[in-house]
């Protein structure tokens, strides 16, 4: 309030730009200085958006010390990010790929396996705003440009999929999940995928074949436990390659540094 009063005494209005006084809800989004500061920061230091909000404000003040961004709320920041289609997954992706050396290390590993032998496996959720973006009322014959999360109650689903170079979608499975899917879901998925053994042979880590391989890459701990158990069962009859990685969230990674 003191800041507003001071601004009112100097300028005769509480609005930074009086022309936008009717756009109160989107005033922050339409603020070019704040938008530039947030979008620059998310590209250069995505980890700042994965920590506490206080850390984000400190990073913003370092990035643009002249501005008044230290008062911006978390809701405003994430509303702005959502408007510019920076979902949390995308920010985590920016964080994971911020190191070129890490990408090269992965590329070296990827390069050792023939492309036709790679079965890429992962899951996607339908509960986020990235799935149902177009929402809102629009006038007749006027295109709706609103982009926000759909507020209608939709069951949160998880779709697991395996794709290959030669066969396209090898197997997909959609389940309705609560908070997160479990290792049992992954076990069921991998058992169904096991039907495709005529083409691709599953195997257990340690018995690697460079010509026939299954490469299932994920960051989920639940999949690691599910995949490991099913691959242990198959180890006696088949041969291949399994790549998994324990869940390493940016929050925990950043707290160590």
């Amino acid at each position: 309030m003191r800041r507003w009063l001071r601004h009112f005494e100097v300028n005769g209005t509480v609005w930074r730009d009086p022309r936008r006084r009717n756009l109160h809800g989107d005033a922050a989004i339409r603020d070019p200085h704040l938008t530039r500061a947030v979008l620059t920061l998310v590209e250069t230091e995505p980890v700042a958006f994965l920590r506490d909000h206080v850390d984000l404000l400190v990073a913003l003040s370092f990035d643009d010390p002249e501005s008044d961004h230290r008062y911006v709320s978390a809701a405003t920041v994430y509303h702005m990010l959502r408007f510019h289609q920076y979902t949390r997954k995308k920010i985590e992706r920016l964080y994971a790929e911020s190191s070129l050396s890490a990408q090269r290390a992965f590329a070296v590993l990827f390069n050792e396996i023939p492309l036709r032998c790679i079965v890429s496996v992962d899951e996607a959720h339908t509960g986020g705003s990235d799935m149902y973006q177009r929402y809102g009322r629009s006038l007749r014959n006027v295109a709706c440009i609103l982009r926000d999360r759909d507020t209608r109650p939709i069951p949160r689903t998880s779709t697991m999929m395996a794709v290959t170079l030669t066969h396209g979608v090898l197997w997909s499975q959609t389940v309705i999940v609560g908070s997160a899917q479990t290792a049992d879901d992954w076990r069921l998925f991998l058992q169904c995928l096991h039907v495709q053994r005529n083409t691709y042979i599953l195997a257990y880590r340690g018995r690697c074949s460079r010509t026939r391989a299954l490469s299932s890459m994920t960051t989920q701990a639940s999949m690691t436990s599910g995949a490991t158990s099913i691959c242990r069962q198959m180890a006696s009859t088949s041969c291949g390659y399994l790549l998994t990685r324990r869940n390493c969230s940016p929050l925990r990674a950043s707290s160590r540094t």
Partner: protein
């Protein structure tokens, strides 16, 4: 075996899921009744993915891997 950090940009499946989400969005936009039939929606979206689309993502990843490894190749 020590595994390098996860690199989603080098995963073909991430691009496929991106296409899948585009299909889901277009299906929901065309027919809002799909929101009440989640399994039908996802099955229809997966059915819209073609083998050529998936192969394109594998090619893209292959090119990116080659670009990343190019500076490391012996002269």
């Amino acid at each position: 075996m020590r595994l390098p950090p996860y690199s989603p940009k080098l995963q073909p499946i991430e691009g496929v899921f991106s296409d899948l989400k585009k299909h889901v969005r277009s299906l929901v936009y065309e027919d809002g009744r799909y929101l009440n039939k989640t399994f039908h929606l996802m099955a229809a979206a997966v059915g819209m993915l073609t083998a050529e689309q998936v192969a394109g993502h594998f090619s893209r990843v292959s090119l990116q891997v080659a670009e990343l490894l190019a500076p490391m190749a012996p002269a």
